[in-house]
Amino acid sequence: MTFLNFLISGISLGSIYAIIALGYTMVYGIAKMLNFAHGDVIMVGAYICFYAISRFELPPLVGILLAMIVCMLLGIIIERLAYKPLRSAPSLAVLITAIGVSYFLQNAALLLWTPNPKVFPSVVGDGKVELFGGQLTISHVTIVTIVACVAIMIFLTVFTESTKMGKAMRACSEDKGAAQLMGINVNATISITFAIGSGLAAIAGALLCSAYPTLIPTTGSMPGIKAFTAAVFGGIGSIPGALLGGLLLGVIEIFAKAYISTQLSDAIVFAVLIIVLLVKPAGLLGKQIREKV
């Protein structure tokens, strides 16, 4: 039964990683850049949600919606100001800029919201479901997180498969020049991608802080890096890959904590990543790039 408990908390943590990883992977797929500021957008989303619920006493759902809107705008603004001017620059320049944006957001949060930890109120309350006479307990946060992850996954799949914006995104991800020559507005498509990714980050922020309620300006960085790892693990650029990578990473992390060592859990997670990449360099579901000879 303890095994099952661990598995469920692993899936729950993994679902949060997966939601964040989806943002990473979509932006990477379309803009071909690693948006290292993504983790800090999560933190901004969590703070907005925190203030909406705790200070302004808005209903949790309204708080999350508000956080999503703010983060979507933030994502679009970051892309326009920091990344768009560098679109034809070497990828290293964009990477460094993304790290810069990440630190900027963290320090802006320090100024605005002080380094004092905030206690985040769970967006779904503290209830839990007990099964098998109390042997297996699943908190509401866990259930909501897993359901949200599945719903987001379905939404993204339907969106990219069957809408014109989704098709435009996939076209841009393959060949921006050709897409533009077919009349696609590449800038708008990239903006939509950043908006979706950042909106997901806001949801992830609210769920993350509901499960782990201490909110500080660096809250987003470690989950951000883990989710990036998850995206690479599953094959960066692939939507199902982000889900699979996120879930596996969460489960491995919880099992490593439970059965091996709490201190070593992160080391174990990254060791598994290295082994997977040695065997499958493009990640689990990543596309192997065939060189034409």
Binding site: F155, F159, S162, T163, K164, M165, K167, A168, R170, A171, E174, D175, G177, A178, A179, Q180, L181, M182, G183, I184, N185, V186, I192, K287
Partner: protein
């Protein structure tokens, strides 16, 4: 067989049948330099609304550069491009496409992970207007436009007998089919002027013959102008009404196929100078 060419105000020649209609394309003194290299210089070109024109010249003459100028992939250093009488200066590539120029590529650039039908639908993007909300809520507007797009995609595909391949990934199509799909995708954007960059490259003689028929068929069905770059002289001399020869970025000859074939400057550019005996 070929129509008589008549002069238009810019001193270019277009087929007689198009003389009463506005020009689809007019380039005046078009030029671009890359660093110190004059890649295209003083290019004057006019096209009637249903004209098929060939752009030929030795490798490196600047033919693809002309396409890149017309589609605003490159910004011209000098000159003007008028599309249906409208100056396209200041427009970006996507905007020029919506104004009526579509193209194919020398090295195929299909969206290979998308299906054949999706590739065609990408070309229709600018003509579909439903917004994010109606696509998420699946409002009637979404279904109506998606259904219309689906039908039109199949209609376009059936021109080249490709309708049965609609669900296949573009990347897994055989080479000839990929070339045809590129043309269909370009047509899906509703162009007034279609640019074909070496459409017959890599094709065998029977495929080339079929392509010639298809190019004429496209012109007759859609009543559009077609500008094509091609090295296959048989194709060029058979279907182009006007031919423009470039060498080192300059126009060295313009005229009907028979005029071009007899032009000494063209022969020299292709075969080298005749040695004085």
């Amino acid at each position: 067989m070929f129509p008589k060419l008549v002069p238009v105000p810019s001193k270019n020649m277009i087929p007689e049948r198009d003389i009463d209609k506005p020009l689809v394309l007019e380039c005046i003194n078009l030029g671009i330099t890359f660093g110190g290299l004059q890649a295209v210089e003083n290019l004057d070109l006019a096209m009637g609304q249903t004209e098929i024109t060939g752009l030929i010249g030795p490798n490196g003459a600047g033919k693809t550069t002309v396409f890149n100028l017309l589609t605003k992939v490159y910004q011209p250093t000098t000159g003007t491009i008028l599309l249906n009488g409208k100056d396209i200066q200041g427009m970006d590539t996507a905007h020029v496409n919506r104004e009526g120029i579509a193209r194919t590529f020398q090295n195929i650039r299909l969206f290979s992970d998308l299906t054949v039908e999706e590739n065609v639908k990408v070309g229709m993007d600018a003509q579909m207007h439903y917004n994010m909300l109606s696509s998420l809520l699946r409002l009637p507007g979404y279904w109506k436009e998606e259904k219309a797009a689906h039908e039109r995609a199949l209609e376009l595909l059936s021109i080249f007998n490709m309708a049965d391949l609609a669900g296949v990934k573009a990347g897994s199509l055989p080479y000839g089919a990929q070339r045809r799909l590129e043309i269909i995708r370009a047509l899906a954007t509703n162009p007034r002027l279609l640019l074909l960059d070496e459409p017959a490259a890599g094709m065998n003689p029977s495929e080339t013959a079929e392509l010639m028929e298809n190019i004429r068929k496209i012109r007759d069905t859609f009543q559009i102008a077609i500008l094509l770059i091609e090295h296959d002289m048989n194709l060029v001399m058979n279907i182009c009404e006007g031919i423009c020869v470039l060498n080192f970025g300059r126009v060295i000859a313009k005229g009907t196929p028979s005029e071009i074939q007899a032009n000494p400057a063209v022969i020299e550019a292709y075969l080298g100078k005749k040695k004085e005996a």
